[in-house]
């Protein structure tokens, strides 16, 4: 029976507890939050016996084998290190750390101590992502991907979350180097990184503020992001994060002989062979094949629902379960460390271009100017030395 602890008792902790409860052979022994009342409310609702406001005290009195850290990212590095020093394996919510440097240091530290870590990239383990991975491995693409596209949308409609973030420059989200993007985009980037080389040779970033966000009144927060990436072997990738496009969370992979689209919202995996049809058949057969694909997906989803495999939180449960299995020595860690680090490096790069580089600063100024002249602001920059070094190391 694995002994589990949770640090940080906010909204995400509830999701973790729900998922852990569905996994056999593990038990939540304690929870901890700097704010004891928060820890208490979680304990009370889920009948967990021990709650703490001090991490060291929790570690020492309940000896958890695994600690889930679901606190704001600024605290991830220090808390994870503390748990690793104590000898616990660590599940760190996304974004893994604030910078890639911290991510590398943590992973190295964990490995030296023979401990395991994972990042909260739970959307990598949804049913459709598992199926996409299976197809890619089975060779459906016909080789290394030529091009990838990851779309990640985030609805600002419910302002109970963004309202306080936008209204308060001291909010922890606003203090992240990548602000709103920093807290959200790692899911969408992790999907690309899985299929990219370690060495990224080009990263072009453009970001701006949507008119909706402008109306909500936070000047310096950007919420529309596009990134174009090329790796060493010339696989290209497009990342699109948008608050204006609604309900679009997709990964599209284009290979030499086929393409696959995994839709995280619809739970579908649509395959398409790259083949030509004679004459007018090109107008009849491909749509029919697409229709068949969607029908197949709908029936798979119904069957999975009836068999209780389709669960809204499937990805998180699957990731946690795989992580626990890796701890028990059966399998490798679910999210390869290479992917965690590359995601963090990519994020560093993106934020450097849009928020801190001189060039990006210009863009940022332009963001504030753009609305009067109607032009779209574009921040452009090739890969910097820092990324080249980190990519090749």
């Amino acid at each position: 029976m694995l002994r589990i602890a949770i640090i940080g008792c906010g909204k995400v902790a509830d999701q973790h507890v729900g998922a852990i409860h569905r996994i056999p052979s593990c038990r939540i022994v304690s929870v901890c939050d700097r704010e004891l009342l928060m820890a208490k409310q979680l304990c009370e609702r889920f009948h967990i016996s021990e709650c703490f406001s001090d991490v060291q005290e929790m570690l020492q009195s309940t000896h958890p084998q695994v600690v889930h850290i679901t606190t704001p990212p600024q605290s991830h590095f220090q808390l994870a290190k503390q748990c690793l020093e104590f000898g616990s394996h660590v599940y760190l919510e996304k974004p893994f750390t604030v910078t890639a440097e911290e991510a590398e240091e943590l992973i190295e530290f964990a490995e030296r101590r023979g401990l395991k870590m994972t990042a909260g990239h739970n959307y990598q383990f949804t049913l459709e992502m598992l199926e996409m991975r299976r197809l890619a491995k089975a060779g459906f693409l016909g080789g290394k991907p030529v091009h990838l596209e990851s779309y990640w949308s985030y609805d600002l409609g419910d302002i109970s979350y963004v309202g306080p973030v936008l209204g308060n420059p001291a909010h922890w989200v606003r203090r992240l180097p990548g602000q709103l993007f920093h807290n959200i985009i790692s899911h969408g980037l992790a999907k690309l990184v899985e299929f990219l080389d370690d060495e990224l040779t080009e990263i072009i970033v453009t970001a701006h503020q949507s008119s909706q966000l402008r109306l909500l009144g936070a000047k310096e927060v950007l919420d529309e992001l596009r990134v174009l990436i090329r790796d060493k072997s010339d696989t290209t990738a497009l990342f699109c994060f948008s608050t204006q496009v609604k309900n679009l969370n997709q990964l599209r992979i284009y290979g030499p002989s086929g393409s696959i689209t995994a839709d995280i919202i619809a739970g579908t995996v649509v395959r398409k062979e790259n083949r030509a049809y004679k004459s007018y058949l090109t107008y009849f057969l491909p749509p029919l094949k697409d229709a068949r694909e969607y029908l197949r997906n709908a029936s798979v989803n119904v069957i999975n629902f009836v068999r209780q495999r389709l669960h809204q939180d499937f990805g998180m449960k699957e990731l946690i379960q795989r992580f626990y299995q890796s701890i028990q020595g059966e399998t490798p860690v679910p999210v390869p460390y290479r992917e965690i680090i590359l995601t963090a490096r990519l994020m560093d790069q993106i934020f450097a271009q849009i928020y801190t580089d001189n060039e990006a600063q210009e863009c940022h100024n332009e963001v504030n100017r753009v609305h009067s002249d109607g032009r779209l602001p574009v921040a452009r920059g090739g890969i910097t030395d820092r990324t080249r070094r980190s990519a090749s190391s």
Partner: protein
């Protein structure tokens, strides 16, 4: 005139949630009663159009101080509580997540009470709670629900994050009352309605898949018009001799769910289907059973506790409110409905 109240017009009064649906009215009524030394707590992201409009309309409104902050910050609470004699605490967590609701209801209240006790001149803390804290599981259909009714024991099982936050908030207030002798009063409004709030209460029914399902049948609704409710809150803050009392707030005249929906449909032309209580009950039980059996593949949002609390149907009393606070509704139900329906476009024929 003000001698009959526990605070004088010179005393500082703090209103939290002051830009909210009920808060704006509370501020307006306080000004009307002659209390202008007001601090209105707002968040930097709060929408202020309604509050500012009211303050501009009232001559003494210009003296009102808007205090920007977040009750989750102890510093902001201190800033707001300095020299305050009376707190009318309306801010609440409306989030769907338990943690979010708990934070903005219970945690925020704890911060505010700490600051009030340390930096204020506490004469009273009025905690605005809700009917969501009651459990009617053991109450017969049609029985009277009053201040003595049992509180919900299992809000998690009821899947009601808001109710959970409000219950924990009340618990803390009572604890501060007993432990720190903080003078307090609890006000529990029923369904507050009026211009500024377009959504129908869940007690009438639920809007799902584009259809409005009427679940309230011929149940009486615990309605209170926003002006009437706001005045009850103000009186709970001012009236002497009611320390540690709890007051339910409902108007004198009640409407059944069917009457309310009929008036609404007549105005808006919305389509609805009615589901009788036994069917609602059976569906809730079935949903709950499936949710548990399937390890929460479906969240247990429909369950026997919610079904009982929202759709079983009880009667409500405002006797205590009338007797101890000498409150009476300032707006009749006819006028209230007229004002409520006035915010909707008439249906096009």
């Amino acid at each position: 005139m003000t001698l009959k109240y526990i605070v004088s017009p010179a005393d500082r009064i703090l209103v939290t949630g002051s830009s909210g649906f009920i808060g704006v009215k509370v501020v307006e009524i306080l000004l009307e009663y002659g209390f202008a030394n007001l601090g209105c707590f707002i968040r930097p992201s709060s929408r202020l159009d309604r509050l500012k409009e009211r303050l501009e309309q009232c001559p003494s409104g210009k003296n009102v101080e808007l205090i920007k902050g977040d009750l989750l910050s102890r510093d902001d609470c201190r800033k707001a509580a300095e020299g305050v004699s009376l707190v009318l605490h309306l801010a609440a967590g409306m989030e769907k997540s338990f943690a979010g609701a708990f934070m903005n209801s219970a945690l925020a209240t704890r911060n505010l009470m700490d600051a009030f006790l340390e930096y204020g001149q506490p004469k009273r803390f009025v905690n605005v709670s809700s009917f969501a804290v009651y459990s009617t599981l053991n109450l017969k259909r049609g029985a009277i629900l009053d201040e003595t009714c049992p509180l919900e024991e299992a809000p998690q099982e009821r899947c009601d994050a808001y109710g959970f936050g409000k219950l924990k908030q009340e618990e803390l207030v009572k604890q501060y009352g007993e432990r720190d002798e903080m003078p307090y009063v609890i006000v529990r409004p029923g369904v507050v309605f009026g211009p500024g709030k377009r959504d129908l209460s869940g007690r009438v029914g639920i809007d799902t898949f584009g259809i409005f399902m009427h679940l309230g049948g011929s149940n009486h609704l615990p309605l209170t018009f926003v002006d009437n409710c706001a005045e009850a809150i103000v009186l709970a803050g001012l009236t002497p001799g009611i320390n540690a009392e709890t007051f339910n707030v409902v108007d004198d005249e009640s409407l059944t769910s069917r009457q309310f929906l009929r008036a609404y449909r007549k105005k808006t032309g919305r389509f609805s289907i009615s589901i009788p209580y036994p069917v609602t009950c059976a569906l809730c039980l079935l949903w709950d059973k499936y949710a548990k059996w399937s390890n929460y593949q479906l969240p247990a949002v429909f369950n026997r506790r919610r079904c009982s609390a929202e759709w079983k149907g009880n009667r409500y009393s405002n006797r205590k409110l009338r007797e101890l606070l000498r409150w009476q509704p300032r707006i009749s139900m006819d006028k209230a409905m007229e004002a409520f329906l006035g915010q909707f476009e008439a249906k096009s024929r």
